[in-house]
Symmetry: C2
Subunit: 288 residues, 2 copies
């Protein structure tokens, strides 16, 4: 069966799924996206992704007439049509195609593209057991990364640098040494039993996995502090972690080659990973 | 005659010109672009645009096998095929289409798209006579805007704010009050006969019209200083200007509603505009 994609209301083979060369997503990165985990054929945290998408649309003043219900039906229909039980649903929603001009075009129809790609969440298990390494890179991104736009080249370059260094992720650090987040993941440290992550701001993405972890940890009486932390603090932490849709929780065991804590996954990472796994199982029935 | 576009080696009607939904330009803004003025059917400053494009390809490690000569032939062929004498050639060159993943894909073919749109350069004449207004906006862009990527959403939002305020352009200003450039133009002031513009840096685009104006002014024994200037300096300047491919030289007569100098186009703007017009005529034979 060929892979199928959704393009502006039609389901087509992925190889035929195309957009205009004057799509503003292509010419201006005037476009939002979401990546949603599909587990047991079910969408994880759909409502959270939808709320973030709606907020982005409002920030960019993109008029998207489809209702939440219709979008949910279309997304689930595409997932079912692809027949993948473990996958990533990619959804991109832009201002549409128009004669090239920076300012918002009049009467352009927003464009919606969705694709589904098989994704092996179980392949994260060895990374969870051994932990992963991160490097640091300067945070060169624009001042509104809380809006989940497709202007991802700074992230691409940071993650490419990580790959070249044999690391899983690049943590993005300000000139004054604050760790903001990773190229496509939120960043966390653990010190004296307290779980610490950068507060919501224009300089971090409001991660869905981040919000879930804060909620689950607090429900379990674990203290969570949303505050900036420095690279020096991270290097002196007991543990470090990262979270994202594609890596729900991974222990970070080294930063720029320096071991974090014991240099092996710690007890808080294991405990939090258990809470996350329980939540995923509760929502989708999936256990890796 | 339908408008024609170039997509990866083929000339097709613009309405059929499409790219994959997995094009990295669309999903990551992992793509470069150029806008080239076509006057009398000839490309203005083609070598400058080509050199900037090659530099961007090197910065992003995009492998693009087409030679300069072949690219020039393809560009001129498309312009001729469209039959437009005054137009903008838009050229977008990206890393290509691949299964979505931030890191550089292996063995992806770079994608090249070109379009030609009629553009009425003569319509700038009234703006040149009356001058135009700019507003200021915070510079929220990423830290490498010297690379001419399609990650233009911050520019889009700034220019949309300008449009909403009835202004032609938004000048992007840092927290400490430095004027970097406009949303799609370089920014200049004139004080005591000296022409001042922000120096080349990762925080401004190396404008082709900017380089041309510096060369022409210096050849005419006009003193040019490439140094940062503040918004306060701009408000106290004798004159202000902007330059770009689509607006070769326009006098700026107000900033955030405050008149610059006399509030009308000044003598240096007129002199520089004359030099630019002569250069355009020399290269293309066109006079507005």
């Amino acid at each position: 069966m060929p892979q199928l994609a959704y393009v502006d209301g039609r389901i087509v083979p992925l190889r035929d799924a195309r957009v205009s060369v004057e799509d503003r997503g292509l010419q201006f990165a005037d476009s939002l996206y979401e990546v949603v985990a599909v587990l047991n054929g079910r969408l994880l945290d759909w409502d959270g992704h939808l709320a973030r998408l709606r907020r982005g649309l409002a920030e960019l003043a993109i008029d998207f007439p489809m209702t939440d219900a219709a979008l949910g039906i279309a997304a689930r229909h595409l997932v079912a049509a692809n027949g993948q039980r473990q996958a990533l649903l990619y959804l991109q929603l832009g201002r549409g195609a128009a004669k090239r001009d920076h300012v918002f075009p009049k009467a352009t129809r927003a464009s919606l593209v969705m694709t589904v790609r098989r994704f092996d969440f179980a392949a994260r298990a060895p990374q969870q057991r051994s932990g992963i390494k991160v490097i640091t890179q300067p945070d060169l991104r624009w001042g509104r990364v809380d809006i989940k736009t497709t202007g991802l080249l700074p992230n691409v370059l940071a993650k490419q640098a990580a790959r070249a260094a044999g690391a899983f992720e690049a943590w993005l650090v300000t000139d004054d040494g604050t760790v903001r987040e990773g190229g496509s993941t939120n960043a966390w440290i653990v010190k004296d039993g307290i779980v610490i992550t950068h507060p919501m701001s224009p300089h971090i993405l409001p991660g869905i996995a981040r919000a879930t972890l804060i909620r689950l940890a607090r429900d379990a009486q674990i203290r969570v502090e949303e505050r900036p932390f420095s690279l020096a603090e991270a290097l002196a932490a007991d543990e470090a972690l990262l979270t994202s849709t594609t890596a729900p929780l991974l222990p970070v065991v080294a930063i720029d080659g320096t071991p974090v804590g014991t240099g092996t996954p710690g007890p808080m990472a294991a405990r939090l990973a258990g809470l996350v796994a329980d939540e995923i199982a509760r929502q989708t029935g999936w256990r890796g």
